[in-house]
Every structure is written in C-alpha cells, then in structure tokens.
C-alpha cells in the first residue's frame, strides 16, 4: 500500500512542471498495482485543490479535484490522527510541517511504509520508504 503526496498530483497535472515526467511515471506504476492499494488524505486533497486554484484557476482546480475524488481512496484526518500528527510534529527534529506529520500519522495507523513524494525530507524518516 502506498500514500500519495500533493506534489505528485501537482507535478503530473502541469506539463510545465520540472517533475512532470517523474510524477507521470510514478502514477502509472501506482495504477499498475506495483505498490498494491493506494490512498491519499483529505489534507492532501485540500493542498492540491488550493495550489491549483491559485496557480491555474478554479476551472482546473475543480477538474483535478473531481478526478482525485473519483480515483483515490481518501483518508479523513480525524481528531485522533490530528493528535497523533501533533505528537510527531512536537517531537521531530526533521523539517516537516504539521500537514507532513498527518501523512506519517495516517501511514503509521494502517502500517503503510511507502510514500510517493518529491519532498526529500521524508527520506530522513527512518520507518518509511520514499518512492520518487
């Protein structure tokens, strides 16, 4: 099972993005079932739609958002996961923000070790493996 970060969706959707080809390859591998089931979170969804809205406009943000809603299992970051994320955020010495820590909390609770992300900081988290 693999968790997918916002930067993968954003790099895929933008032909001009320096990471577009990488993101396309990763998403094709994910869809082929290479890493098993795949999921993302409502926080990621919010980030993708927010960035697309700012940089490309509302129409594209809606299209991209609808496709993510149809195609992915989306984990809800509830009170418990937020508290877990807060614990990780409070303790970590890594350069991860609270949203990044919600990814780790979601992954931890369902024993997922793989994350598709372009954020190199996740490579410093010992319990997980980064696909990039």
């Amino acid at each position: 099972m693999i968790f997918i970060d916002a930067n993968i969706f954003l790099a895929y959707d933008n032909l001009n993005d320096v990471n577009h080809t990488r993101a396309l390859k990763i998403l094709k591998e994910i869809e082929s079932g290479k890493f098993g089931d795949f999921f993302t979170s409502d926080y990621i969804f919010n980030e993708v739609v927010g960035v697309t809205f700012r940089k490309k406009g509302k129409d594209r943000a809606v299209l991209l958002g609808e496709q993510i809603l149809k195609s992915f299992l989306i984990i809800n970051i509830d009170d418990h996961l937020l508290k877990e994320a807060w614990k990780i955020f409070s303790k970590t010495k890594l350069n991860l923000n609270l949203v990044d820590c919600t990814h780790l909390a979601a992954m931890k609770i369902i024993y997922v070790e793989l994350i598709a992300t372009l954020d190199k900081e996740f490579m410093n988290v010992p319990e997980i493996q980064v696909i990039s």
Binding site: N7, V18, K28, E31, D37, V51, I109
Partner: protein
C-alpha cells in the same frame, strides 16, 4: 435468526481508535462484533470499489512561471 459468529483475537490495534470505536458502537446500540463486521464490510467495499484511473485526466500546460510549483507547495500555501 440466530447467527453464530467467529471469535477472534486481534493484535496491534491502536488503543485510542479502538476506544472511540467501542464508544460509537455502544452509543448506537451495537455489539462490538456487529460494529466490527459493519466496519470490515465498509473497508472491503471501499478498497474494492472500481475507480477510474487518475491518469485519464490529461495534464495541461500551466504556463510560464509554474515550473517549480510541485517543489513550492509549502511556500505557496503557507509562505514557508
């Protein structure tokens, strides 16, 4: 109808999640066994749901100045 379920022992369950799950089940008048069965059914159907491939959505050119967007998510959203 009388239904005899299976007895199971489960390791590595997150204690806080289980506490909340139990409380929700009790609030709704469900036994832990029937609530767990419902949750497992829901989990199975969510995972097995037929979903269209994401990459059927054709990417587009976002234009000049957007080349680094995937590396600047935090900066764009949170000013980091």
């Amino acid at each position: 109808m009388f239904y005899m379920g299976t007895q199971i022992t489960v390791r590595d369950v997150d204690s806080e999640v289980f506490r909340e799950f139990k409380a929700e089940a009790v609030k709704r008048g469900l036994t832990i066994g029937s609530a767990l069965t419902l949750a497992m059914e829901k989990f199975r159907s969510e995972l097995n749901k037929k979903r269209p491939q994401f990459t059927v959505l054709k990417p587009v050119a976002w234009g000049k100045g957007t080349e680094q967007v995937s590396e600047e998510v935090d900066k764009i959203l949170y000013g980091e």
